[in-house]
């Protein structure tokens, strides 16, 4: 019997992978296609806040309630992606008491646990808070790693039989008799893992239903079937600091505004953000004022940020949507809720449903509602299990501890590997091979890099998002070539070199917004290592012309060398001189 409905999900962000997992668990045949890496879109460029809902407790209580419910669920099913940092809403003297009270009431109304702290209590918890703050409210905000979260969802989907294709762009929707019946996909390098240098291919994938989870690009995708979905993309900046100045999420307790939150994430603290409508989600200005604003505004909450070192900045675009004719002017007023658009009902175009808006924190709920909708359509009875069933890596609460003991992982390196890998720690680190550290800043070992390569192919940016290698202080200066070395010999030198060039350029892109002070010095050292010593900028292997090697110094003549050897017995270079050697 072959009547399992086939669903094609377009988009490998949190929404798409969440849907793929849920649908696969409920027995759909699932194919997920993503034009870049997993997390290539907004999901890879967000702030990392596991919302308690506190930020919406005054302005958008429905979103706030969804957030706190999902927050509690993700702590259970995605333990290895979540850090329970807690959060504070901090009131400065210039922030109104009225808003503070509204916040407190809103939190209570939405059942978000809230505790009031005096200034002294808040500062005891976070000593770098400004001395002149008034007070604070404590809420269960957390930090979430979007990369690990998406990889774990995709892996779970695969475990339930889904096909996941990255570097595969939907280049057309197949429409027959007014109905959407599938997608035309252009694979960058054949299907399966991404491998450099493998020819691309076009494939038509037929489906019983297409799910458009293309985030800020949902409009573009819908347009391929002449459907109008007006997404209002809005950009925001995030600035990464070199150390974690705070261990708690710090929010400013005032109505919506730019630069009002600091989220600790792994070894860093991330400042954010702005909210500016843009016309093209892929092409928008990344502006200096935005970075300056982060540092100046958030310095009012955490003064040492003013003099601290930032390592890079990055931007993301929110896939905001509002129903036609709402006509909101200011993007900060557009709702953070999500929308499910069945194009049969809405546009008389059966075969596709679009899901747009929302937040990463609510990705699971979005997926649940969408798959409920599909289940109803196709008469599938299976209930959603994603709220109970842990993600791969989070299955076993004791697994991390057990694995850490088993591998004697008490060093900071082992500890951090285990935090990243969760219950997969044993599988990945159980190796008899030497396991040196490849990325020193983030303490990522060879076994983890190899594991990521096995999962994702020769693309080092995919390895990066799985492992955090090259995401620390040096931004790949000291480790990007080491990562490329790990590709060999499974991939050839040429592929490794191309992968290195791509990673290096990607790392450069974000650093450009942090180039002053120490980070500029770091960039110069990186430039010296890669251009001056390694000559990667003028690599003769990368040019067509062959070099006239004969014109250059070939070294002291072979003859001279032989004589020296014979006469001196051992020394070939004049022998030992003092203790300094050469």
């Amino acid at each position: 019997m072959n009547n399992t409905p086939h669903v094609v999900v377009v988009g490998g962000g949190s929404t798409g992978v969440g849907i793929a997992r849920d649908a696969a668990m409920r027995g759909f045949e699932v194919t997920l296609v993503e034009k870049g890496n997993l997390t290539h879109g907004t999901t890879g460029r967000m702030h990392g806040l596991l919302h308690s809902g506190g930020r919406y407790a005054v302005s958008d209580q429905e979103s706030a309630r969804e957030c706190i419910e999902e927050n509690m669920i993700l702590r259970e099913i995605a333990t290895h992606c979540v850090e329970d940092t807690g959060g504070l809403f901090v009131k400065r003297p210039e922030d109104t008491e009225e808003y503070y009270q509204e916040k407190l009431e809103g939190l209570r109304a939405c059942s978000i646990p809230a505790t009031e702290l005096t200034a002294a209590e808040a500062r005891a918890r976070e000593p770098y808070l400004a001395k002149d703050i008034d007070k604070a409210i404590e809420v269960p905000d957390g930090a979430i790693d979007p990369f690990r979260l998406c990889v774990a969802n995709a892996k779970s989907a695969q475990n339930h039989g889904a096909r996941v294709e990255t570097f595969s762009e939907v280049t057309d929707l197949l429409v027959e008799d007014g109905e959407i019946v599938g997608v035309e996909v252009t694979h960058e390098s054949g299907s399966g893992n991404h491998v450099h240098g493998v020819e691309g291919a076009v494939e038509e994938i037929r489906a019983d239903h297409v799910v458009n989870a293309a985030g800020a690009w949902t409009g573009e995708l819908a347009a391929m079937a002449d459907i109008d979905v007006e997404v209002r993309p809005s950009k925001g900046v995030m600035t990464i600091m070199n150390v974690r100045q705070v261990d708690t999420v710090i929010n400013r307790c005032k109505p919506k505004g730019d630069a009002d939150i600091v989220v600790p994430h792994e070894t860093t603290a991330i400042l954010g953000t702005t909210d500016e409508e843009v016309s093209d989600p892929a092409e928008y200005p990344e502006e200096q004022w935005e970075v300056d604003l982060m540092i100046e505004e958030l310095g009012k909450l955490v003064p040492i940020l003013e003099d601290a070192r930032t390592i890079r900045s990055f931007w993301g675009v929110r896939p905001l949507y509002e129903p036609p004719d709402t006509g909101t002017d200011d993007p900060t007023d557009i709702t953070r809720q999500f929308f499910l658009l069945d194009h049969d009902e809405r546009d008389d175009r059966p075969g596709m449903t679009t899901i747009v808006g929302g937040k990463l924190t609510t990705y699971r709920l979005m997926a649940e509602q969408l798959v409920d909708h599909l289940a109803e359509k196709f008469g599938i009875e299976a209930a959603c299990r994603t709220a109970e069933e842990p993600l791969p890596g989070s299955e076993d609460e004791g697994a991390i501890e057990a694995a850490m003991n088993e591998f004697g992982l008490r060093s900071p390196i082992g500890k951090r590997s285990a935090e990243r890998l969760g219950s997969r720690t044993a599988d990945v680190l159980d190796t008899d091979e030497p396991n040196p550290v490849v990325c020193g800043c983030e303490a990522v070992t060879r076994a983890e890099v190899q594991d990521a390569i096995e999962e994702s192919g020769s693309n080092l940016n995919a390895v990066r998002i799985r492992t955090r290698a090259s995401m620390g202080n040096c931004q790949g200066g000291f480790c990007s070539h080491r990562m490329a070395n790990e590709l060999h010999p499974d991939y050839d030198e040429r592929q490794a070199r191309t992968a290195l060039d791509e990673l290096y350029q990607e790392r450069w892109k974000g650093q450009r917004h942090a180039l002053w002070g120490e980070q500029l010095g770091q960039a110069m050292i990186t430039y010296a290592m890669h251009a001056l010593t390694m000559n990667r900028d003028r690599d003769p292997a990368a040019t067509e012309d062959s070099l006239d090697f004969g014109a250059f110094d070939a070294g002291p003549s072979t003859e001279a060398r032989t004589t020296a050897d014979e006469s001196a017995g051992i020394a070939t270079d004049g022998g030992e001189e003092g203790t300094h050697g050469d």
Partner: protein
Amino acid sequence: MAIDSDVLVIGGGIAGISSALAARQAGADVRLVSEAETTLHHASGLLDVLGYHPNAAGEGPVVDPFDAIADLPDSHPYAIVGESAVRDGLALLDDALGEAYQGSYTDANALVPTHGGTVKPTARYPASVAAGLASDDREMVLVDFERLTGFDAGVAADHLAAAGIPADTSAATVEFPIVVRDDAKVTRYAHLLDENPTVTVEGRERRVRAALADAIEPHVGDAERVGFPAVLGVDHPAEIRAELQDRLDAAIFEVPMGPPSVPGLRLEDRLYAALDDAGGRIEAGGGPIVGFDATEGTISEVYLDRSGSPIPYAADQYVLATGDVAGGGIDSDREGVTEPIFGCHVPHPTDRYEWFDEAAFGDHDFAEFGVVIDEMLRPVAETGDPEFSNLRAAGAVIGGYDYPAEKSASGVSIATGYAAGRQAAREA
């Protein structure tokens, strides 16, 4: 009372040492003060003069760097000091380094394989690198160690082949005879080879060097030379190479690597010893120079910050050799770029987003940040007048050239260091 000398050199990188050596050679009483460790241990240990013509993107490497100097723009530091200062400076260094460095017998650049696997042009190279030059057509086998992630022999061998070098290349990976920690530094390997302790290999007592040679031997085949990551000893490199050469019956060479760099450490040791022998006084690690006094455009003393207390140093002549944005000689914040000790003029675009190029290996303004000098190597103000009558600059603190792109770092440091040191001594 201030600590006194004829010439005070600030900065202990290759520019500072070259200045101090030149000033000593010219008979001055010299003191060198440097904040912390030098940047030499970051550097590959190669001494480049000019590998590529600036503004000639796409062109291959320069064969004769001395020839190429004539074509440089007038503002380039080489054009300011002239070819003869480049040659004289190098001669001074050749003298200080003796047999430990090679390349002085020809004006032609050498193409050296470095750890990424491709070749780069340089003018002087450590003796340990000599047998590895790319223009030598003898077959080579490259060796790496399991736990050393910075050098992958297989990648390097294939990369060299892709660059078209005239020699056949192959690769072998071996386990270092003593199991070092998974995250051991390169210096750990170097020290083990220096000390050469006994290990037990398959029931046999062997010294580390011998055991290493045993492990490599099966991979050598017809190869006439064997290349290693640059870890062959800090203290006894020649002895280690000679022993391996004997045991493997092949020439031995090192492939220069990134930081921390063993050849860089050896170069640092050598140069400091040479300066010490020449009678220069060295104070490295005591703290940074943070301020100065001057009257009528002449510096009377500078202040070293020793854990918060200012220590005055006075001299007739000063050489500023504090490096670029990487070395600490040039500072920047979101507002602009400065020379932090004397506040010398550093030209730079006011818009921070013009400091760099979009492409990682593009034309970066920041690489050229530094002071502007006159023909006497004195930093000048925006007006073109010298900032101080008795202050000269040397090395990467001078702006206007992109040394990673042109591969000219040490050469400019040596040539300007030499010129600044000599002129300072003459006027002291």
